[in-house]
C-alpha cells in the first residue's frame, strides 16, 4: 500500500489517565489490523470539549469521529452536529440498555463504547459486607460516626447523584413527556432522607469530587458513591469493593442511579463516515473492548466482553454491570440539562436547613419551568428597524450636543502609528462583537434563530422569569456585580500600593526576593489556585476553619451565607489581583524623584502627609489606566466566582457574567438570551466609565 492511499482519521476525546492510554492501545491495535488507515487521537480538555465541538463541526473543521455522551444527543441532533449511523448494527452485540439512549426517532446516533453510572464504593478494612438497604447503610454510618469518621461521602448536593435516592423513593426528575416533575412528594421524601443523613453527620459536608476522593483514600469515610472514573483515583494501597446502591428501606425499591452511554459519534459534514464507522466498530469489538475494560477500567458496552473469564471474575467491573441493570438512563431532553442547576440549589438549601424539602423543590420546579419557558414571540422587523433608527438618531443628537466640534489641524502621521493596532483590534474584536451583539436580537440556540427584536432585553429587564428580588434577577446580579467590582478594585489598589510602598526603599535587604515572592499569585494558573481557595474555605476540612478552631472560634459555613461566600470570592480575587497593582505601582513609584519627598520631609510633613499629598497624587496618573481596565476585568471576572462560590448560596453571589454564562451553557443553550445579557453588561460598563470620567474631570477642575 502506498503512502498516498493511507486514510487519516482524526478522533476527539476527553479521556485522560488510564482510559486514555487504553484508548490509545486499542487504536494501535486497529492500525495494525488496518494498515491503510492511520488514526490520530486528540485529547481535548473537558472544559473546552463541547464548546469546541459546537464551534468546529458546523464549519467543517470537526474530527472524523468523536467520543460523546448520550445525554447530549438530542441537543446535538437538533443542532445538526451529528449524523445518524446508516449501517446495520447488531443489537445483540451490545449490553442491553446501551443502545436505546443513542436512538432518536428510530435512528442510531452512536456506537456505544461504555456505560457510566455511579455505584457504592466501600473500604474493605472498614466494612466486610456492603449495606443492602438504606437502614443497613445508616447503621454502618452511625458506627463510623461514633468512631469520629464519616460514614458516606458523595456529592450530596448534586442532582445527578441525588437522582439515585430520588428514584429509590419513587420520584423522577422528568415525567414521561419530558416535563420537569421535581415537585413530587416522593422527591421531597428523598431529600428529607438525605437531610436526615446530614443532620446526623453521616455524610461529609459540602462534598466535592475532590474531597470525596481524599476522604476515601485517607480512610476518613468508609463508603463513597461514585462512578468508574473513581477507580483511577483510589490509591493502590486501599482495599475496596464496589456494590450496587442499597434498597431504600421505606419503599423497598432500589436506589437507581442515572446512567449514560459513552459512544463514538459521527460529526455531520465529515466525508469519512464509512472508515470512521469501521474504526468505531473495531473499538466496540470484543478485543478492543477487553483492552479498554482491563487497562482503562471502563465498563464497556460490548456484550461479548462480559463473557470473558477475566472480566466476569472482576468483582469491581461486574458490580458496575449489575448496577447498570438497575440504573435509569438519562433523558436526552434539554429539560434534564435545565434541571441540574435548580435541583442542586434546592438540595443545598435543604441541606443547609434554610427551607423544607417541599418548598425547595417547588422553587426548583418553578425555576426549571422558567428556564424552559417559550422564547419571546417572533418580532416584526419593521417596527424594530424603526425603533433602532430612532435610537440611533437620539444617540447622534446627544453626542452632537455633548461635544461641539473643535476645529484643529489633524496630524496624519498619527495614523501610521495607530493603524496596526487599530486594524488588529477592529477585525478581531469588532467583528465578533457585532456578531455577538446581533445574536441578542434572536432566540438562538446555536442552530435555529428566530428574530425576536427587543424581546430578550424585555424579558431580562422586566425580570420576567424570576421575581425582581430573586438572586437570579438581572437587578440583583447587577447590585452584586457593582459591589464586587468596587470592593475588589479598592482592595487591589490598597494592598498593591501598600506593598509597593514597603518594597520601595532601596536600602531594604532582600527587596528582590520579596518582590519575586509577592507576584507568585499572578504567575500560577488561576484555575488551580481558585480551587485551592475553595478548599481553604471548606466548612469541615478547610484550613481557615481549622485556624478559627485553634483560636476557639466557631467554624463558619462559608458558602451558606451571602456575605461569607462573597468574602471568600473577594479574598480569592484580591489574592489573585494585587500583584498586578503592586507591579504597576512599583513602576510608577520609581519615577518619583526622592528629592520631592525629602523636601516635603524637611518642610515638616509627616510620613502620612507625604504619602497623601506627594506620593499618591504623583502615582495617580500611572495607576488610573490600570484601575480603569482593572475595573472592567473585575466586572467580567468569571473564573473566580464560578470556581470558588459557584454562585452559592442560591446563586446570590453570581455576577452578571456568570449569569450570562449559565444562560448560554447551563440553561439549555439560550445564546440569544446570554448575548442580550452581554450587551447589557457592555452598556453598563460604557455608562460606568463615562460617568467615572465625568467625575474625574469634575474633580480636576
Amino acid at each position: 500500500m502506498t503512502l498516498g492511499l493511507v486514510l487519516h482519521l482524526v478522533v476527539w476525546h476527553a479521556y485522560h489517565g488510564a482510559e486514555e492510554s487504553a484508548f490509545e492501545h486499542a487504536t494501535l491495535a486497529f492500525e495494525t489490523a488496518n494498515p491503510g488507515v492511520s488514526v490520530e487521537l486528540v485529547a481535548v480538555p473537558f472544559g473546552a470539549y463541547s464548546y469546541k465541538l459546537e464551534a468546529a463541526i458546523p464549519h467543517g473543521n470537526g474530527p472524523d469521529l468523536f467520543v460523546g455522551k448520550s445525554n447530549g444527543l438530542q441537543e446535538w441532533i437538533d443542532r445538526g452536529l451529528i449524523d445518524a449511523i446508516d449501517a446495520e448494527v447488531d443489537p445483540s452485540q451490545f449490553v442491553s440498555g446501551t443502545l436505546p439512549p443513542l436512538i432518536h426517532h428510530q435512528r442510531l446516533y452512536g456506537v456505544p463504547l461504555a456505560f457510566k453510572s455511579v455505584a457504592l464504593f466501600y473500604r474493605r478494612d472498614r466494612i466486610t459486607k456492603p449495606p443492602r438497604t438504606t437502614d443497613e447503610l445508616v447503621a454502618i454510618a452511625e458506627r463510623e460516626h461514633a468512631a469520629d469518621r464519616c460514614g458516606l461521602a458523595y456529592e450530596a448536593a448534586s442532582l445527578s447523584y441525588h437522582a439515585a435516592w430520588l428514584h429509590g423513593f419513587g420520584g423522577r426528575i422528568l415525567d414521561d413527556n419530558n416535563q420537569p416533575a421535581l415537585d413530587s412528594a416522593e422527591a421531597a421524601r428523598s431529600i428529607e432522607f438525605v437531610r436526615m443523613l446530614a443532620n446526623r453527620h453521616l455524610i461529609a459536608e459540602e462534598a466535592t469530587g475532590q474531597l470525596v476522593t481524599d476522604l476515601f483514600n485517607r480512610g476518613e469515610c468508609a463508603m463513597a458513591i461514585s462512578g468508574p472514573w473513581f477507580l483511577s483515583d483510589i490509591e493502590a494501597d486501599v482495599r475496596f469493593g464496589v456494590a450496587s446502591l442499597p434498597i431504600v428501606s421505606s419503599t423497598g425499591k432500589p436506589a437507581a442511579p442515572l446512567s449514560e452511554i459513552e459512544a463514538l459519534m459521527l460529526p455531520a459534514r465529515s466525508k469519512t463516515h464509512a472508515a470512521a464507522l469501521n474504526f468505531a466498530l473495531f473499538l466496540s469489538g470484543k478485543d478492543a473492548a477487553r483492552l479498554r475494560a482491563l487497562e482503562g477500567r471502563q465498563t464497556v458496552a460490548t456484550a461479548a466482553t462480559w463473557q470473558l473469564d477475566e472480566i466476569k471474575n472482576d468483582p469491581v467491573l461486574t458490580a458496575f454491570y449489575d448496577q447498570f441493570k438497575l440504573a435509569v438512563p438519562m433523558s436526552q431532553s434539554r429539560a434534564l440539562q435545565a434541571s441540574w442547576e435548580p435541583g442542586q440549589r434546592a438540595l443545598r438549601r435543604v441541606l443547609r436547613g434554610d427551607v423544607d424539602a417541599k418548598r425547595a423543590l417547588a422553587g426548583a420546579q418553578a425555576e426549571i419551568v422558567a428556564t424552559l419557558r417559550p422564547a419571546p414571540p417572533p418580532a416584526a422587523k419593521l417596527p424594530f428597524a424603526i425603533s433602532l433608527f430612532a435610537l440611533g438618531l437620539a444617540l447622534l443628537w446627544w453626542r452632537q450636543r455633548a461635544q461641539p466640534e473643535v476645529a484643529f489641524r489633524s496630524q496624519p502621521v498619527a495614523y501610521v502609528y495607530l493603524a496596526p493596532a487599530a486594524v488588529a483590534m477592529g477585525v478581531l474584536v469588532f467583528v465578533p462583537f457585532v456578531v455577538g451583539a446581533a445574536m441578542s436580537l434572536f432566540d438562538y440556540d446555536g442552530v435555529h434563530a428566530t428574530f425576536v427584536g427587543w424581546g430578550n432585553f424585555g424579558n431580562i429587564l422586566r425580570a420576567r422569569d424570576t421575581s425582581l428580588f430573586s438572586p437570579l434577577s438581572f437587578y440583583f446580579a447587577l447590585l452584586v456585580t457593582a459591589l464586587w467590582t468596587v470592593a475588589n478594585v479598592a482592595l487591589h489598589v490598597a494592598i498593591g500600593v501598600a506593598l509597593a510602598l514597603l518594597l520601595r526603599s532601596p536600602l531594604l535587604r532582600l527587596r528582590g526576593v520579596y518582590r519575586a515572592l509577592l507576584i507568585v499569585p499572578w504567575a500560577v494558573p488561576n484555575y488551580i489556585t481558585a480551587l485551592i481557595w475553595k478548599g481553604l474555605f471548606h466548612k469541615q476540612f478547610g484550613a481557615i476553619n481549622a485556624l478559627l478552631k485553634v483560636c476557639h472560634l466557631e467554624p463558619i459555613s462559608w458558602f451558606a451565607h451571602f456575605w461569607t461566600a462573597f468574602a471568600a470570592n473577594l479574598a480569592t480575587n484580591v489574592w489573585l489581583g494585587f500583584p498586578f497593582m503592586m507591579v504597576v505601582t512599583l513602576g510608577a513609584l520609581s519615577r518619583i524623584p526622592r528629592e520631592l519627598e525629602e523636601a516635603a520631609a524637611l518642610d515638616g510633613a509627616s510620613a502620612w502627609m507625604r504619602l497623601r499629598h506627594i506620593v499618591l497624587p504623583l502615582i495617580r496618573p500611572a495607576l488610573l489606566p490600570a484601575v480603569l481596565i482593572g475595573a472592567v476585568w473585575t466586572f467580567n471576572m468569571f473564573n473566580v466566582v464560578f470556581l470558588v462560590s459557584g454562585g452559592e448560596p442560591d446563586g446570590s453571589t453570581d455576577i452578571l457574567v456568570s449569569q450570562a454564562y449559565r444562560w448560554a451553557f447551563q440553561r439549555g443553550h439560550q445564546y440569544g438570551y446570554a448575548a442580550a445579557y452581554a450587551v447589557l453588561i457592555f452598556l453598563l460598563l460604557v455608562a460606568q466609565t463615562a460617568f467615572g470620567r465625568r467625575m474625574s474631570q469634575k474633580q480636576a477642575t
Binding site: 482524526v10 490520530e40 469530587g209 465578533p432 462583537f433 455577538g436 494558573p525 507591579v583 468569571f638 457574567v657
Partner: protein, 280 residues
Amino acid sequence: MKPSLAIRISIHALLLAACAITLYPVAWVVKTAVTPRQSFSPSPNPWPSTWSLSNFRDVLGTHQGATWLFGRQLLNSLLVSASVTIVGVVLACGAAYALSRFRFIGRDFSLRGFLLSQMFPGVVTAIPLYILLDHLQLLNSLAGLVLVYSTTAIPFCVFMLKGYFDSLPHELEEAVLLDGGTHFDAFFRVILPLSRPALAVTALFSFLTAWNEFILAATFMSRPASYTLPVAMQNYVGDFSTEWGHFAAGAVLVSLPVMLLFFALEKHLIGGLTEGAVKG
C-alpha cells in the same frame, strides 16, 4: 534618610506576613505536585509529608509517537507568548504614542474603543471569533492564537503606555525634531528607551495573558502537538475526576518561566531612568 532599626524590622515583619499569606495557597500546589498521588487534600498543613518527583516525570515525559509532547508544547507556549509580547507591545507602543502625542480625527474614538473592547464578555464572542479565524485561515495555527491574545493584551498596554508617554516631557521629542530627526527618530531613539519600566510591565502582562489561557487555545487548536502548555495541563482535569498530582506538577512547571521572566525584567520594572530627564 536611612530608616531606624525599629521601622526596618516592622517593614520586614509586614513583608514576611504578606509573603506568608501569598504563598500559603501556593504551597498546596507544590505539596500536591510532590506528593506521588493524584488526589488533593486541603489540610491546614501545607508541608508535604512525602516527596517524590514522579508527577513531574509523568508530566515531562508525555510523548506522542516520537514527538516529545511536553517539549513541543512548551515550545509552542513560549513561541506564542513571546510573539504576543512582541506583537502586543509593538502595536500598543505605536498606538499609545499616537494617542499621547498627536491630535487627529478619531483620536477620542480610538482611545475609547480600546477600553470598550474589554467590556464585551467573552461568553458570546468566542464562537464568532472561531468563525472569523476559520475564514482567515488562521485556525490551528500559532499565528491565529497570537493575534487573538494580542487583542486582549493591546488595550491594556495602550493604556499603560499612553499614561507613561503622557508623563514624558514634550521637549524631549521637540529637541529631536530640531536636532534634525523625525517623529520616528524621536519615538525610537528617545521615547522608547526612556519607557523601559512601562514597557517591562506591559511585556510581563502580555506574556502572562498568553501564557495561562486555555479555553481559546483548546478551541482553536486541534493537534496535541500544536497545543500550548495550559491546554495540555487542562487535559488532566476530567469531567468527573482530575489527576491533581499531574495538574499541580504542570502548574508548577508552567509558573517557572514566568518567575524567570519576572527576574529578568525586574531591574527594568523599577528603573527610574527618567529621573533627571528634565530639571526644574
